[in-house]
């Protein structure tokens, strides 16, 4: 593409400007602020800036503020003629907020206003987008730093650069790798979502047919689930069909069984009533016959029983008499026994009476002993003791030192006078008297009244002795013992008398004795017990037995009499029953016979009801099976196994085809990757070579190799073979401008290596030393041979050195 003419009615500070460009080199020469940049900006805007200005967009606002005439101008204008493949195109724009206009005029003269269409056509004509032009074709020297930075840092630009480098350098033949990759990924995504192609199963094995995803799956997963669903259905249908066959077989069996059963039941039902009647008649007949037999027996028995009854009655009478005799005997024996008891009682009383007499005799022998006399005796004894004690309290000791008398007598106390012999020392109680022939001496204790005491003593003593004699006891102890004995005897007598009373009770002894003497004991009688035994034996065993026997016989005869009145009538009864038997036998002859297999009508009845029960249970079973059958029939579904099988096979094939397709696409993806990585090694080679070549030229061999790695990082190598950092600050201005120009030209040439284009260079030579300027000029001159170069400068010298079409502004 080459620019032919630019014209503007008004654009920022310039108006009514018309510029003709020639092929090769064009120099826009003008002083600072003369509008060189404005013209370049206007050309750029005419190519890339849409006519409609929307101030709420910051880019548009900046554009408006920068280029719209202040204060009232409401539009700006640009007209650009350019040549692509030797054909003329025009693009004209009136930028405005309210009334934008634009068109693209094609070589055939037709004009297009539709913005979208214009942009599409423009892309085909310009080959690259706005960004690439802005950063590579139109970029300014003073913005080169940011431009380079953009190239280095901006990924979008890198992509563009990569892409156009790939298109151009790698000869992608117009294919966008990004789009191809996207296409491959999209296709794979569509096929493989939720599918594990390596293992050929759902990526989550838990989400198989029983728990499938409802959304977000790819075509393979979908086809797989469809196929599996059918497989499951197929399996199920097979089973249901088998079940159906099975159950229908069972139904047939129960049905045929039922038919057999029904036939048999029908056969027996035909004779069922007859057999039933037979079942009633036969026992009746049997019982009638039995009855005749019974009556005949009675006829024989009746007189016999009668005779036996009379006999038994006679026997009973005899036995009853025997019983009466025994009972009388029993009474007498009982009386004898009572009198024997009485006799014993009276003997006992006699004995007790004898004992009382003996006791009374013994009591009389005890003498005149009373309790009172014994107490009196005790008192007297006590008085003696007390008197003696008073004397003993006034004890006298007497020693006769000399006595000359052989008949000397002494009296000590109350004692009798005694003769003293050898003894000369004495003790005496209260009184001592010595009488000799010539002496009679009495000594009395002054402490007591001896005479009185002596008198008292003598009284007591005398009374005491008197009472002893009277009572005829030896002493008081004896008296006391005798008193005790007396009491004892009295008690014994009393007790014995009481026991006699006990024996006799209220009865009088003499009356009893009289009664006994008057009673006559039987001479020879059995023991009472033996008699009772005999009575019981007779009663229980003989009489009762007889009575029962008689009762039975009487009952029997009564029964017969009640039933038949008498033996004559009995014979009538036999005739009557016989006629009944004949009738029934006649009826029985008309009834169906009981089939041989049955032993009795009851057996028949039992068998028939068993058959009926069997039929009922069979029918129940059948109807249950039938319901089961209906259920299975409902389950059979629309399609037979065969129809489903065809469907399944088709689904399976579809699934397999999709899997195959996916595998092929995976293969393609890998191939693309492999190819790209191989080709990428050479991708940047032409650019690097071109860059290095330019750099070498510009820097006079100082910097040999410019290297650009995959990330598009710039590496500059100096002649000591050291890589310089790409950071621009490390480069001298001159070197920096040289690097920038070299890279830019290299990129530009790589971009447009097949087609001719234009490049805008503003004064990029300012910072170069004269030598490098010369080299740069050579570079630009080289460039203009292939492309259209638009160079802006304020320096007429530079313009002159470069030569070409000079456009003065």
């Amino acid at each position: 593409m080459r620019l032919k003419r630019f014209q503007t009615d008004i654009f920022a500070g310039i108006a009514d400007k018309n510029i003709e460009f020639s092929d090769g080199l064009n120099i826009i020469l003008g002083k600072n602020e003369a509008g060189k940049s404005t013209i370049i900006n206007a050309i750029y805007a005419t190519l890339f800036k849409n006519a409609k200005i929307r101030l709420n967009y910051s880019e548009d606002k900046e554009f408006f503020n920068r280029y719209f005439p202040y204060p009232d101008g409401d539009y700006i204008h640009g007209y650009l003629e350019f040549i692509v493949n030797s054909k003329n195109y025009v693009i004209e724009k009136e930028w405005s907020r309210n009334d934008p206009r634009q068109y693209l005029k094609l070589p055939d003269g037709s004009r297009i206003k539709n913005e979208e269409k214009i942009n599409k056509l423009k892309k085909d004509l310009l080959l690259y987008d706005k960004g690439s032009y802005n950063n590579i074709v139109f970029t300014k020297q003073r913005n080169i730093k940011s431009a380079i930075k953009k190239i280095i840092e901006n990924e979008e630009v890198i992509n563009t650069v990569n892409n156009f480098l790939r298109r151009a350098v790698m000869e992608l033949d117009g294919i966008s790798i990004e789009e191809l990759n996207k296409k491959v990924d999209n296709e794979l995504d569509n096929l493989l979502k939720k599918w594990d192609i390596d293992n050929n199963r759902p990526s989550n094995p838990d989400r198989d047919i029983n728990n499938p995803y409802l959304k977000g799956y790819g075509q393979i997963y979908e086809a797989y689930i469809e196929k599996e669903k059918l497989r499951k259905k197929l399996k199920r249908t097979k089973k249901i069909e088998e079940d159906f066959e099975g159950i229908s077989n069972k139904l047939r069996k129960t049905k045929s069984k039922n038919e057999t059963l029904t036939k048999e039941i029908n056969k027996y039902e035909e004779i069922e009533d007859d057999i039933f009647e037979r079942g009633q008649l036969e026992p009746e007949l049997k019982s009638l016959k039995e009855r005749v037999k019974g009556i005949k027996k009675i006829n024989q028995k009746w007189p016999v029983v009668k005779a036996r009854l009379a006999d038994k009655k006679e026997k009973l009478k005899k036995e009853k008499n025997r019983l009466e005799t025994l009972k009388a005997k029993k009474e007498k024996a009982k009386k004898d026994q009572d009198y024997r008891v009485l006799e014993k009682k009276l003997k006992k009383v006699d004995k007790k009476r004898e004992i009382i007499n003996d006791l009374k005799l013994e009591k009389e022998n005890l003498g005149d002993i009373t309790k009172k006399k014994v107490s009196e005796l005790a008192e007297l004894k006590d008085g003696i003791s007390k008197s003696r004690a008073s004397l003993e309290a006034a004890k006298l000791k007497v020693r006769i030192n000399f006595i000359n008398s052989s008949g000397t007598k002494i009296t000590r106390g109350i004692n009798e006078s005694e003769n003293i012999k050898n003894k000369r020392e004495f003790e005496s109680n209260g009184y001592f008297r010595i009488k000799t022939d010539n002496l009679d001496l009495e000594i009395e204790s002054a402490e007591i009244d001896f005479t009185k005491i002596q008198e008292k003593y003598k009284n007591y003593k005398m009374e005491y002795d008197k009472l002893i004699n009277k009572m005829d006891v030896k002493n008081i102890e004896d008296a006391r013992n005798k008193l005790e004995k007396l009491y004892e005897l009295k008690n014994k007598i009393k007790n014995t008398e009481e026991s006699i009373e006990e024996i006799l009770g209220d009865q009088d002894y003499n009356q009893l004795l009289k009664k006994l003497r008057e009673y006559e004991f039987s001479s020879n009688s059995d023991d009472l017990e033996i008699i009772e035994e005999k009575i019981n034996e007779l009663k229980d065993e003989k009489i009762n037995e007889l009575k029962i026997n008689i009762k039975n016989k009487e009952d029997k005869i009564n029964e017969w009499e009640n039933e038949y009145n008498n033996q004559d009538k009995l014979m009538d009864k036999i005739l009557e029953i016989r006629s009944k038997i004949n009738k029934k036998e006649e009826k029985l002859g008309e009834l169906a016979f009981l089939p041989d297999k049955f032993s009795s009508p009851a057996d028949f009845k039992k068998y028939l009801s068993k058959l009926r029960e069997e039929k009922k249970s069979l029918e129940d079973k059948h109807s249950k099976k039938k319901q089961e059958m209906i259920k299975i029939e409902n389950d059979l579904g629309d399609n037979s196994y065969e129809e489903l099988e065809i469907m399944y096979k088709e689904r399976k094939k579809e699934f397999e085809e999709l899997v195959l397709k996916a595998r092929k696409i995976v293969k393609i993806k890998n191939k693309i990757k492999e190819k790209l990585s191989k080709m990428d090694q050479n991708t940047l080679k032409p650019l690097t070579e071109s860059f290095s070549d330019k750099l070498k030229k510009l820097t006079a061999q100082n910097y040999k190799i410019g290297k650009i790695n995959k990330e598009f990082k710039l590496k500059i190598k100096n002649d000591s073979n050291k890589y310089l950092p790409a950071d621009m600050n490390y480069l001298s201005y001159g070197t920096y401008d040289g690097v920038a120009l070299s890279l830019r030209v290299a990129m530009f040439e790589t971009l447009f290596n097949k087609v001719s284009s234009f490049i805008v260079l503003d004064d990029c030579l300012v910072n170069l030393d004269p030598e490098r300027t010369e080299r740069a000029i050579d570079l630009i001159k080289d460039l203009k041979n292939k492309h259209q170069v638009i160079f802006s400068t304020c320096d007429p010298n530079t313009a002159n050195k470069l030569g070409g079409n000079i456009i003065k502004v």
Binding site: D173, G174, E179, L251, K626, G637, K664, M679
Partner: protein, 373 residues
């Protein structure tokens, strides 16, 4: 008297054709009922005495009663003497099948259900004919049901009726495609030894013998009167058989059926191939054609992009057309790659690398073409 038999079977009432789109599916379902009318009409026109269905009148057992009645009503229109229905393996009767209970409850006096292994005497229809049926009593069976006839023959009773006709359903060995040998297979010799005057068989959807008209053959397979699937790519058929008093047999095969199934494969390598195919497919009653088309071949890209248009032209006219053109591809030759892509360019290298794998090559080519455009 000449006995005239109209012999059909394998009608498969109740097939659902779920593999087809609804519009054609309904038509296919209905066609199976309609064919009964057609058959009865033809039989009436020929004054047939017997209308025989040798199995698989129904496709399955769960047929609704009103559908059964519809079938019976159609059969009732037969103006001959008797209609003989034999249960086949699809509609087998083991004595416990509701379908046949319902059928029996609704059928008229003229219809005889041959579901017992016994001789059916057609005297009551004024026909001097005995029928010896071998009905199916299960879906599959390795044994056929001819035994009872064999046993009967050994008893050597003198024939009761003039004509003795055997009717059976199952595969004929050497003739029917029965890989598993589970469809009551019988051999022709086995049948011949049973000394029937004629055997009327069903099961195999192709008719036997293959001739259109034939005399003095004893074994006949009716084939289906209405083809029911792509494995059945022939017309529908039925037999009209006459047996004269000398027991000479004269049989004519009658072509029947509305729909014709075609499972076709075409090799397409040029526009001319496409044209030829188109002409062939559009010949005849296209409105009754059910076609599965498999296309194979390599064509130029331009033609390849026109294929959809050709398909549309066909689908618009043909009752149902299903195309599988997975094997119809753009012809990608070295020349194509060389002319379309610069030598050693990325697509050039990629496609050359995939040359050994044609399927991958095709896909890659299409992708590249798409992103190039």
């Amino acid at each position: 008297m000449t006995l005239k038999i109209f012999h059909s079977g394998d009608i498969h009432i109740g097939m659902k054709f779920n593999n087809y789109p609804p519009y054609i599916q309904q038509k296919l379902i209905k066609a199976r009922y309609k064919i009964l009318d057609t058959l009865i009409k033809k039989a009436n026109k020929k004054n047939a005495n017997l209308f025989v269905i040798s199995g698989d009148l129904f496709d399955k057992h769960n047929i609704k009663e009103d559908e059964i009645i519809e079938v019976i009503n159609k059969l009732k229109k037969f103006s001959g003497d008797a209609i003989l229905i034999l249960p086949g393996n699809h509609d087998f009767d083991n004595g416990g099948i509701e379908l046949w209970e319902k059928f029996k409850n609704n059928m008229s006096g003229k219809i005889v259900l041959l579901n017992d292994f016994r001789e059916y005497d057609l005297k009551k229809f004024d026909l001097d004919v005995s029928i010896y049926p071998a009905p199916c009593d299960s879906k599959h069976s390795a044994e056929n049901n001819l035994d009872w006839i064999k046993n009967k023959n050994t008893q050597e009773e003198s024939p009761k009726r003039k004509y003795e006709i055997g009717i059976s359903h199952g595969a004929i060995s050497g003739l029917s495609p029965d890989m598993t040998d589970s469809y009551f297979t019988m051999s022709k010799d086995e049948l011949k030894n049973l000394n029937m005057d004629i055997w009327l068989l069903g099961h195999t959807h192709l008719p036997y013998p293959f001739e259109k008209e034939i005399t003095n053959r004893k074994i006949f397979n009716c084939g289906t009167p209405e083809p029911d699937g792509l494995d059945c790519d022939h017309s529908g058929n039925a037999w009209f058989i006459e047996i004269d008093k000398e027991k000479n047999i004269n049989a004519k095969r009658i072509t029947t059926g509305q729909y014709h199934f075609y499972d076709l494969e075409y090799k397409i390598n040029s526009k001319k191939d496409f044209e030829n195919m188109k002409n062939k497919l559009l010949k005849g009653k296209v409105e009754n054609k059910i076609i599965r088309l498999k296309l194979k071949g390599r064509i130029e890209e331009n033609l390849y992009h026109q294929k959809e248009k050709i398909y549309h032209e066909l689908s618009d006219k043909i009752a149902y057309l299903k195309i599988n053109d997975n094997d119809l591809k753009i012809k990608i030759t070295n020349e194509v790659i060389n002319s379309e892509f610069t030598e050693n360019s990325f697509p050039y290298k990629l496609l050359n690398d995939l040359k050994d794998d044609e399927k991958a090559l095709q896909i890659a080519y299409e992708f590249i073409k798409e992103v190039k455009a």
